[in-house]
């Protein structure tokens, strides 16, 4: 199931980023941890319950201006669907 563009993703209860001081940024959750690199870290940091998916996509379009915007949005939706399946995020 692909999330709607006006949904606002946020980290699910019990899910958080590790400290900035640790060299590898990770998303920590019960009994699991996901490694975050480049765009995945930028996306997760915007999953704060305030930004809509559309707004996150627009920020990524600016950050990655060489890539095709449509492609970025599709990848974003795919990644958020994956995080949702893993119960790392929910939507407000």
């Amino acid at each position: 199931m692909k999330p709607e563009l006006n949904a606002k993703p946020r980290l699910a209860a019990g899910v958080r980023l590790n400290e900035k001081t640790q060299d590898q940024r990770m998303l920590l959750m019960p009994e699991r941890a996901l490694r975050l690199n480049g765009p995945s870290l930028e996306i997760v940091q915007l999953c704060d319950g305030n930004h809509t998916i559309q707004q996150i996509a627009e920020k990524l379009h600016i950050l990655y201006s060489k890539a095709e915007p449509r492609r970025i949005t599709d990848d974003l939706l795919g990644y958020l669907a994956l995080l949702h399946d893993q119960r790392a995020i929910d939507f407000v």
Binding site: M1, A13, G14, R16, L28, M29, P30, E31, A33, R87
Partner: protein
């Protein structure tokens, strides 16, 4: 060499429950030899420096430690993700709020059944009503919640009722953990091992529940490995994912390892976590495949299950380096089949009173 993902902190062996399947060793650590707050805090810092991401507070009952709030704060300050694995018994609303305030990330509440009388029989204590109260208190916090139902022959028939509790409270995760046969569980195995019919019921019921609960609650099912075709990888592989510190500071690769003879386990009072993890003979004992026997040594699966569980191999065959006897390829598999046969071929279980071996409390 990998770095461990999790540090399992067995803070104490004291516990208000007396569960007949407790995974603690038969020889429990006394209160007087428990590690101090300062030593635990040092362990958490050393663990984080070693690359550990998570601290799982367990016991016994971790809430039996009067310094539990300080310990949660210390682990969180060290940079670890903190889970509390608890019966919820010595807890009230104020203490829960203080734990959350100290930085607790994840609360795992264990259940002995879906009914008070079952929970009482299994844990030798009145527990169930208190757990339902804890579930209500948890709603006031934004905290990771896992419900853990330990399942076995005496409570599998309550599975639908357990699922009703899950559906009502919608925790992030629910674990249906089949009893594994070590320690007290091994002593009570003949009353705990489920029948094949029960296992099939369990699998089909949980499959349906997975559909209903999709994207609400993650269901984790720990299979009763006597029925498995291949063994479980010993805690993700001996000395690969996890380090357990027992209440007196002994560093173990898994909950049961202390039963293995001829291995000297280190103590955190004498060595750093890094030294123990990287170079102790005990943690290196079953790394790699030099120690393996056939059929593991030449088996395609030995990078998946690492030969299975050494403690189980030792308990059932007397040899910790043998292939885990639950493996269908193990030469000793007939021993497991014989145990299953006694359970599955019995005509009917006479409704007599079960003579449980309850877990005592250390002094």
């Amino acid at each position: 060499m990998t770095t461990p993902l999790a540090l399992v902190a067995e803070l104490t062996h004291r516990c208000p429950l007396h569960c007949v399947y407790c995974s603690n060793p038969l020889e429990l650590t006394k209160r007087t030899t428990e590690l101090s707050t300062e030593t635990w805090s040092r362990i958490f810092r050393e663990a984080a420096q070693l690359g550990v991401l998570q601290a799982d507070f367990t016991g016994g009952e971790p809430l039996a430690r009067p310094d539990i709030i300080e310990l949660v704060r210390a682990a969180r300050q060290a940079g670890l993700y903190v889970s509390l694995i608890t019966s919820g018994l010595p807890l009230d609303e104020a203490k829960l709020a203080a734990l959350v305030d100290a930085g607790l990330d994840h609360f795992q509440l264990s259940f002995q059944g879906a009914r008070e009388e079952t929970a009482q029989e299994i844990s030798g204590t009145q527990t169930h009503r208190q757990k339902l109260r804890v579930l209500e208190w948890l709603k006031k916090h934004r905290l990771g919640v896992t419900l853990n139902f330990v399942i076995h022959r005496q409570n599998i028939h309550e599975l639908e009722e357990m699922l009703s509790i899950v559906e009502e409270h919608k925790p992030g995760t629910v674990e249906f953990a089949s009893v594994q046969y070590y320690g007290y569980a091994l002593a009570n195995r003949s009353s705990l091992l489920p029948t094949r019919e029960q296992l099939d019921f369990c699998v089909s019921t949980l499959r349906k529940a997975e559909e209903r609960l999709k994207s609400k609650t993650r269901i984790v099912f720990v299979v009763p490995d006597y029925y498995a075709k291949y063994p479980k990888p010993c805690v993700g592989g001996w000395g690969r994912k996890l380090m357990l510190i027992s209440p007196d500071g002994t560093a173990l690769p898994c909950h049961a390892a202390a039963i293995l003879p001829e291995i000297q386990f280190e103590n955190v009072m004498n060595k750093s976590l890094r030294e123990i993890w990287k170079s102790s003979p005990s943690f290196n004992k079953f790394r790699g495949d030099d120690w393996m026997q056939e059929p593991c040594k030449t088996c395609d699966r030995h990078e998946i299950d690492f030969g299975g569980c050494h403690c189980q191999a030792f308990l059932l065959t007397g040899d910790a380096t043998a292939t885990d006897p639950v493996c269908s390829l193990a030469p000793t598999r007939p021993k497991v089949d014989a145990i299953l046969a006694t359970i599955n071929n019995a005509q009917q279980f006479a409704p007599t009173r079960i003579e449980w071996v309850y877990r005592p409390n250390p002094t």
